[in-house]
């Protein structure tokens, strides 16, 4: 298995290089270094000299992929791509174009994101699976039909609606929680409860329906009939045998997101005023801060690859027939 993991991680290098190449190409297709300079220097009184100065100061005065003026290896080496890419592979993100240190920003903002994402993820997983198993238990009854209709209705509503409705009802009408905001430390709980609740409700529709479909497929299989024939209770059949055998598709969707949990959620964090990483990339795109964009895309890709490797490893844990070679 170790060989497999090492091999997968080595495969990651060209993938990350490719992702980085695409990020560079796409970003500079839309924005030129001059555009970036103008955005950072402001809308008034910007002179060509100021633009040149900004580019020089931030290292955007070099050619993107090929430096015709350089000699030998420097033709490829003395370029924006090489200069800005290499450090990413040792996770040296450097400063953002506005001067702030990116690694420091990530370290600061990941904790509030995680404070919402982790309980949402864990409680959500438990609640959605339990609810789906409950529907399976009552399959074919009116309760099941009502549950499925409810799920379809819930998944048909925009996520933004849950946020605004949650803030309106629990924050504005009932005064249970602060409508938005965040405080670090022990006081954080009262700012986290509402976003976690809203996230849970917003996610229940499609998750429960997805899990229900998985369990329904399992419930008709022979091992379930055998388990029942042994006299096991229905709860034991569902939570031990059906759930256990449906783990592979569940893990496929679940484990891959674990490393990315701290990247946060854009809508939830924006509306609830949580100072997480959710809007960091979007804000950077709007501000044309290429240093942040390339760092976050790189980090996102890296975490996705790690998530896929973890998913593969998790298969071996839940299904002894799977071997990683």
């Amino acid at each position: 298995m170790l060989n497999y993991i090492v091999r997968r991680l080595l495969y990651a290098v060209p993938i990350l290089l490719g992702v980085n190449l695409l990020t560079f190409a796409l970003f500079f297709m839309v924005n030129t270094p001059d555009d970036m300079a103008r955005i950072h220097l402001g809308a008034k009184h910007v002179t060509p000299e100021a633009i040149e100065g900004w580019k020089r100061e931030h290292g955007y005065d070099k050619p993107l992929f090929f430096n015709a003026a350089a000699e030998g290896a420097a033709k490829a080496g003395d370029t924006l791509f090489v200069e800005k890419s290499l450090k990413l592979f040792v996770l040296d993100f450097g400063p953002a174009d506005d001067g702030r240190d990116i690694a420091r920003e990530i370290k600061t903002r990941m904790w509030p994101s995680l404070a919402i994402a982790l309980p949402t993820f864990l409680v959500g997983l438990l609640a959605y699976i339990s609810f789906a198993l409950l529907l399976v238990f009552f399959r074919g009854t009116r309760l099941d039909t009502a549950g499925v209709i409810l799920c379809v209705a819930l998944m048909s509503i925009s996520g933004l609606f849950y946020v605004i409705a949650g803030q309106y009802v629990m924050g504005k009408l009932w005064h249970w929680f602060p409508i938005s905001g965040y405080q670090p430390g022990l006081d954080a709980w009262k700012f986290l409860l509402m976003p976690v609740l809203v996230s849970l409700v917003a996610g229940i529709g499609d998750s429960a329906r997805f899990y229900r479909a998985l369990f329904i497929e399992e419930i008709g299989k022979d091992y379930v009939r055998t388990a029942r024939a042994k006299g096991l209770s229905e709860l034991r059949v569902l939570f031990r045998h059906v759930l256990g055998n449906a783990m592979i598709p569940i893990l496929t969707g679940v484990v891959v997101v674990i490393p990315r949990l701290f990247l946060g959620s854009l809508i939830i964090e924006s509306f609830f005023g949580i100072p997480g990483l959710g809007s960091y990339t979007i804000d950077a795109i709007q501000a044309q801060d290429f240093a942040i964009v390339r760092s976050m895309v790189f980090l996102g890709s890296l975490l996705y690859i790690i998530g896929l490797v973890l998913t593969d490893i998790s298969y071996t844990l839940v299904d002894p027939r799977v071997r990683l070679e």
């Binding site: 602060p178 409508i179 924006s270 005023g273």
Partner: protein, 772 residues
């Protein structure tokens, strides 16, 4: 006697009870949904929000409203705007008096104050600052027992232990000196600071361009980590006379320079701060002058977490500063002079929370957790209704809450511009001018203001916004090219009677422009036609007639018969922009002109503007300072965007306008200056390179517990004048935020109602399975 285990347990229990009681009391001291720490409850704190994190807090670099909210209260330029007086009036801030200016000719001979501008080769401003002003406490001033700087230089291992700015255990302060002001002027040329006004100021401040070049060369030759000593370079543009006096030397005459002296670009920065922050390892910890300001203002930035909160605290070293004792008419009656003569600042702390979305901001304002709020389109109907006079007023709900409304026309102009280099809509030819005039009449900005701004705008009549010298109030200021007086007769003189075209083309009319006629009445029409206090947009028929005279009868090219198609470039996007573009299409369609909207991203839009490939566009300008020069220069030919990169986005160039501008910019505010401005405005109205759209009105709401609020759209150091009544605020917060508990009981009952039958069903099915 030693205490036994029981006594020990009793003691622990007492302590635990005390802690619990303290927690309960703290929790009860403010509503459960309060977003603020309990320790802050009842304090002299002002609560506000910011929607976007500031990018720069370096006064030499920052040039954005959302950054000036903070910087204006931390840094002190020598001058400020009087808080209450209108029109806006400059007064000394840290300066002991207003700057004195001396003029010199090319030979260095001093000239009298009223010397002709053309003879002035050099202006020298002398600014004397008040002695005894001290900086906020800051580690850059900290000194050890030997009197040496405590943190300059700083060993790497020492810096390694410091993670937050508050970890610097020692701070110090020192007196503000003239050196700090001169140092900041030098910083404008610092290659690593990248001041946005370097280009502009290089045209005025003697030697600034050369200093910038020399510094850029020196910066190239050293590592980025190395300290660049900008004081070591020659610079004639600013120098220190004595500890509290400095002089700034400008090329020629530039009377608007005094307004710049009220902006953070000219605030003092101590050299120690630059030396402190430029040490290796500081930037990696986000310790920089761009992030942790060092000022003499009423507040200092105590907490800078722009992802969550920015907290300003009262500067303990703040100088003696007092609330103004005089204001504008009506201020006393409005209670704005109740605190006259009181020591500033009045609030101890100002907490700005990050609030990216409008909905939570508005709801928290209604709960009393923000002291003031703007009004978005979504909340407009909830907050404002129009009274019988068509004036905005608060809704009964807002009145009941004691909320108060303050409105003010912003010193801003939004306009629709025509690219004067465009072969169809551009140029000063008669047909092109008539085409632009026809469009100026057809596009109904009254409707625009009503639909898209909820009435929060003042119709544009010329390039100068209200509150700026040169703006004419009421009927005298109405643009006669687009509007007519409405005397209630409904009769409009036909265009052929002394039409506008004649006015602009004949020599007699050019002469008339220099001494403008009463602007609103057609020639030959008597002012005594009635008490005409209202004006009305000219009828569409006039626009159609102008269009026909321009060569496009019924919206078709008279030569080719092809329909006239015009192109509108915009960077606006989203559903609201779409509605606006649809509205523009309809306005053009009134003249049977097809409008093609070319929506693009901001970069491409800017690129088109620079290259002059846009045809029609929307643009706007916020006043840097309250002088007409700051708006009329937007139409000054040598400042055109194409070729020079200036701010004249329409690329308008009229020699007469340019000649008048050069005369006007150096004049003091006087009837003579007003006369020149009138001529310039009339030329711009006739040539119509812009459609003067509107001046936005600012609508601000505040709770009754916030005192001393008067809109001042030029100043940024307003926090020191504010006063709050924390007791009233706490009472209202408690009243408005009582938790509603019945939903908890209902939810519990519902859950029980669901779980009970589910359990019963489960048991029944289990039994059924067993029996099967």
């Amino acid at each position: 006697m030693a205490e036994g285990p029981v006594a020990e347990q009793d003691k622990v229990a007492k302590i635990a009870f005390a802690i619990l009681a303290a927690c309960v009391l703290a929790a009860c001291s403010q509503p459960v949904n309060s977003p603020y720490p309990a320790a802050e409850a009842g304090g002299s704190v002002l609560y506000s929000a910011f929607g976007e994190r500031p990018k720069h807090l370096d006064p030499a670099r920052s040039y954005s409203e959302n950054e000036y909210v903070f910087l204006g209260n931390i840094y002190e330029p020598p001058l400020q705007y009087h808080y209450l007086k209108r029109p806006y009036e400059l007064e000394p801030q840290t300066a002991a008096g207003m700057p004195t200016v001396r003029y010199f000719d090319a030979a260095g001979r001093e000239l009298p104050a009223d010397a002709d501008s053309a003879a002035i080769a050099l202006s020298e401003y002398e600014i004397r600052i008040k002695p005894g002003i001290r900086y906020q406490p800051h580690p850059c001033f900290a000194r050890d027992a030997a009197g040496k700087p405590r943190y300059i230089p700083m060993r790497p291992e020492e810096l390694a232990d410091i993670d937050h700015f508050q970890d610097f255990s020692e701070t110090g302060s020192r007196e503000l000196t003239a050196d700090d002001y001169v140092y900041q002027i030098r910083r404008l040329a610092h290659p690593r600071v990248q001041s946005p006004i370097l280009g502009l100021m290089s045209d005025y401040i003697v030697g600034l361009k050369d200093l910038a070049k020399a510094l850029a060369e020196a910066a190239k030759a050293q590592s980025k980590e190395d300290y660049l000593d900008i004081n070591a370079f020659d610079f004639e543009g600013a120098y220190v006379v004595d500890r509290h006096t400095y002089r700034v030397r400008l090329k020629g005459k530039y009377p608007q320079f005094v307004y710049w002296l009220a902006m953070p670009f000219f605030a003092p920065v101590p050299e120690e701060a630059e030396r402190f922050y430029r040490q290796p390892g500081m930037a990696a910890k986000n310790f920089s002058l761009d992030w942790q300001p060092v000022g003499t203002g009423a507040y200092y930035l105590a907490e800078n977490e722009p992802n969550r909160v920015m907290r300003l605290e009262r500067n303990p070293n703040y100088r003696e500063d007092f609330y103004p004792a005089e204001g504008a008419p009506g201020d006393r009656e409005a209670g704005l002079l109740a605190d006259a003569g009181k020591r500033l600042p009045m609030v101890d702390r100002v907490v700005y929370s990050l609030e990216k979305e409008d909905v939570p901001y508005w709801n928290k304002f209604l709960q009393g957790y923000y002291d003031a709020s703007g009004i978005t389109s979504d909340s407009f109907d909830q907050a404002i209704r129009m009274n019988a006079d068509g004036q905005p007023d608060l809704t009964p709900d807002m009145r009941e809450r004691g909320i108060q409304l303050a409105t003010a026309a912003r010193p801003t102009l939004s306009y629709m511009g025509f690219n004067m280099l465009d072969p169809v809509v551009g140029g000063l030819s008669e047909p092109a001018r008539k085409l632009r005039q026809a469009l100026s009449i057809a596009i109904d900005y009254e409707e625009f203001i009503s639909i898209f701004l909820n009435g929060r705008g003042l119709l544009g009549q010329g390039p100068i916004p209200p509150g700026i010298f040169g703006y004419r109030e009421g009927i005298e200021g109405v643009n006669p090219v687009v509007f007519r007086v409405d005397c209630g007769t409904g009769v409009f003189p036909p265009l052929s009677k002394g039409g506008r075209g004649d006015l602009a083309t004949t020599a007699a009319a050019q002469a008339a422009l220099k001494s403008p006629p009463p602007p609103l009445y057609e020639r030959g029409e008597s002012r005594a036609a009635g008490d005409c206090a209202k004006f009305k947009r000219r009828p569409l028929e006039e626009a159609k007639k102008l269009l026909a005279e321009a060569g496009y009868p019924n919206g078709r090219d008279a030569r080719t018969g092809q329909p006239l198609t015009l192109y509108f470039d915009t960077a606006a996007s989203g559903p609201e922009a779409k509605s606006r573009m649809d509205w523009f299409r309809k306005q053009f369609a009134k003249l049977d002109i097809q409008l093609v909207v070319r929506a693009t991203d901001y970069n491409r839009f800017q690129d088109k503007m620079r290259k002059g490939s846009a045809q029609i566009f929307e643009w706007g300008w916020n006043a840097d300072y309250p002088d007409p020069e700051n708006f009329l220069f937007l139409l000054y030919g040598p400042h055109r965007k194409v070729g020079t990169g200036g701010e004249n986005a329409a690329n308008y160039q009229n020699p007469e306008f340019d000649r008048l501008f050069e005369r006007m910019k150096d004049m003091d505010n006087s009837p003579q200056r007003q006369a020149v401005i009138d001529q310039m405005v009339n030329i711009a109205r006739e040539d119509a390179p812009w459609i003067f759209a509107f001046h936005p009105k600012s609508f601000g709401l505040r709770h009754g517990w916030v005192k001393n609020v008067k809109p001042n759209l030029m100043s940024h150091n307003l926090l020191k004048y504010r006063r709050v009544d924390p007791v009233a605020r706490a009472a209202y917060q408690a009243k408005w935020n009582r938790p509603v508990l019945w939903p908890v009981a209902v939810t519990a009952a519902l859950l029980a109602a669901m779980i009970g039958p589910a359990v019963a069903t489960y048991r029944r099915r289990q039994k059924a399975t067993a029996h099967a």
